[in-house]
Amino acid sequence: MTQDTDLTADDEQYEYDIDELQSKLRDAREELDRRIVGQEAVLDGLFVCILADGNALLESNPGLGKTTMVRTVAEVTDLGFSRIQNTPDLMPSDITGTEIIRETDAGREFVFEEGPVFANVVLADEINRATPKTQAALLEAMQERQVTASGDTYDLPEPFFVLATQNPIDQSGTYALPEAQTDRFTMKLLVDYPGREQEEEIVDLYTEGSETVPVERVLAREEIRAAQRLVRDVPIAEDVRERAVDIVRRTREADAIEFGASPRASMALVSTAKARAFLEGRSHVAAEDIEALAAPVLRHRIVLDFRSEREGTTADDVIASLLE
């Protein structure tokens, strides 16, 4: 933790070249394409989420390469990676860490053993299988960026990025995240099956030659922190910002929506739009950024009313109608 704090202080004093940072981000994105095939939109979303200093909820069926995807993101960005497989018997201390008694020369002492949440990139697999108490502990750590155990507070490393997954098929024995909890996720990304040609490419990629596809580390964690700070400074025009707020506010007035998005959604929409602009090498936010990110930012924050669900309307359909 001390090391991270020092790195941040040094990082803030050093001014990274903006063009060079954006170039490295593009290189990192290309490195991901070498290992992950057919998930371009999800990878873009992950990078946007990282640059916006947010967290992502991933809805995906099993076997679509979520773990490989997040592990690769950590590899190319020099970030620490950990994976939490959520189960009903998982306890909060299994995630955050706990104090254990350690035998030393001076005798016994309590030592805090950090849990898997102490990593830069945390993959919380099937988060809806954990009990609400464990979910709350993880989400609180995600929100506060710190863990409290036995009266002591421990800062989580920076940057910190949680990618939680949900399985939309098997809902038995799960504890669905309440709306207040899903609101803490900046974006919800949908991972769909790849196309036929892409699936064949995946098969060839992982069944021939070496077992793992090598990728290079092209981005340091200090550079990611610098990029995150620059993203916050990306200028946005007033009318574009007003457009973002209007879209979010419309979710509270639309007939097809029972519960709309919160002001946190407005902040997330603007911050992710800035990240997308930065990722694409621009110095300003365009209206297209807002429209492209409206669905990922809002789809998990709204609750459709009964009639809409009965008619088979999805959250994305309603959001698309709000953009018109």
Partner: protein
């Protein structure tokens, strides 16, 4: 129209966004004016203590230049439409409502009203936004840079945005603010109205009311004696009568003598050889009406006066 041409010529000059050296005093003056008064675009004033050579300062100068281009374009439209309105009102008053007093003054007032009104309407919308609409390639960065300048953003990303916007503005032009076809059409209308005004003032057309430009043949003074006593010759003599051929043949003789020589033989000439049916011809005073376009009317008049004195 010459003003329009000058304005259009100015607009073809690309905005100097880098240095602003060609009109630095003017630009600085306008920047100071912007500092002193709320900005026309958004009602907010830029930072007064901005370093003029910083990206933010240069961006402020560029925005000032963009606003100036918008005002020039609005002035071109306003002047063209104002002149057209003035001429149209002038023609209408001369042809339809000639009884209206001071038609020229009214026409000028109408033109000034159209000019001022259109300039106000066109400058009411933000000049920067009109410039963005005319130059879509620079629209997004320019609008964001404008808002960033007004909010006083001076971080690295804002500076980068200013630099990028200034770079793009070098390829932008205020010419696109003016619809050439529209201005040309207005110019054609102005020319037509000019010709119509000229025609009305020379020939005269009136559909309503009395008018000094009434047709010449209908003027009452054509048959009324003028103060000098001269009357229309046609009115005095009446309609021409057919003349019969004479019944007596007379041989005409011409001598070839010198003009000053003595005449050897006395000749007598019939006194009733001419005229219509031998009727007496009453001497009348000949006169010319003004529209007959007698070349030397004054000379004829003088001769007539002398003849009357001799009689």
């Amino acid at each position: 129209m010459s003003d329009d041409a000058d304005e259009e010529e100015d607009l073809t000059v690309e905005v100097d966004l880098e240095s602003g050296s060609d009109d630095a005093p003017e630009a600085e003056g306008e920047t100071q004016a912007d500092d002193a008064t709320p900005d026309a675009d958004d009602g907010t004033a830029p930072e007064a203590d901005t370093d003029p050579e910083s990206p933010q300062g240069r961006m402020e100068r560029a925005l000032t230049a963009v606003r100036r281009e918008g005002q020039k374009a609005a002035a071109i439209y306003a002047v063209a439409d104002g002149v057209a309105a003035m001429l149209a009102v002038n023609v209408v008053l001369a042809t339809i409502a000639s009884a209206v007093p001071y038609p020229t003054v009214l026409a000028v007032l109408a033109g000034v009203a159209v000019l001022g009104g259109e300039f106000w309407l066109r400058t009411r919308r933000s000049p920067v936004e009109r410039f963005e609409a005319a130059n879509p390639a620079v629209a997004g960065p320019l609008r964001t840079a404008r808002d960033a300048v007004e909010s006083g953003a001076d971080n690295r990303m804002a500076a980068r945005l200013y630099e990028e916007t200034l770079e793009r503005l070098r390829d932008a032009s205020g010419v696109a603010l003016v619809d050439g076809a529209r201005v040309a059409a207005t110019g054609v209308v102005v020319v037509v109205l000019c010709l119509a005004s000229l025609q009305v003032s020379v020939v005269g057309l009136s559909f309503l009311g009395d008018d000094s430009t009434t047709a010449v043949d209908d003027r009452p003074e054509a048959v009324t004696p003028e103060p000098d006593g001269l009357r229309d010759g046609g009115a005095v003599l009446g309609d021409p009568d057919p003349v019969d051929r004479g019944s007596e043949d007379v041989t005409a003789e011409v001598e070839a003598n010198e003009g000053d020589g003595p005449i050897e033989e006395d000749r007598s000439f019939p006194s009733d050889g001419g005229g219509a049916g031998g009727a007496d011809v009453e001497t009348r005073q000949a006169a010319f009406s003004r529209p007959d376009r007698v070349e030397n009317a004054e000379l004829v008049r003088e001769y007539n006066l002398r003849i009357r004195e001799q009689e």
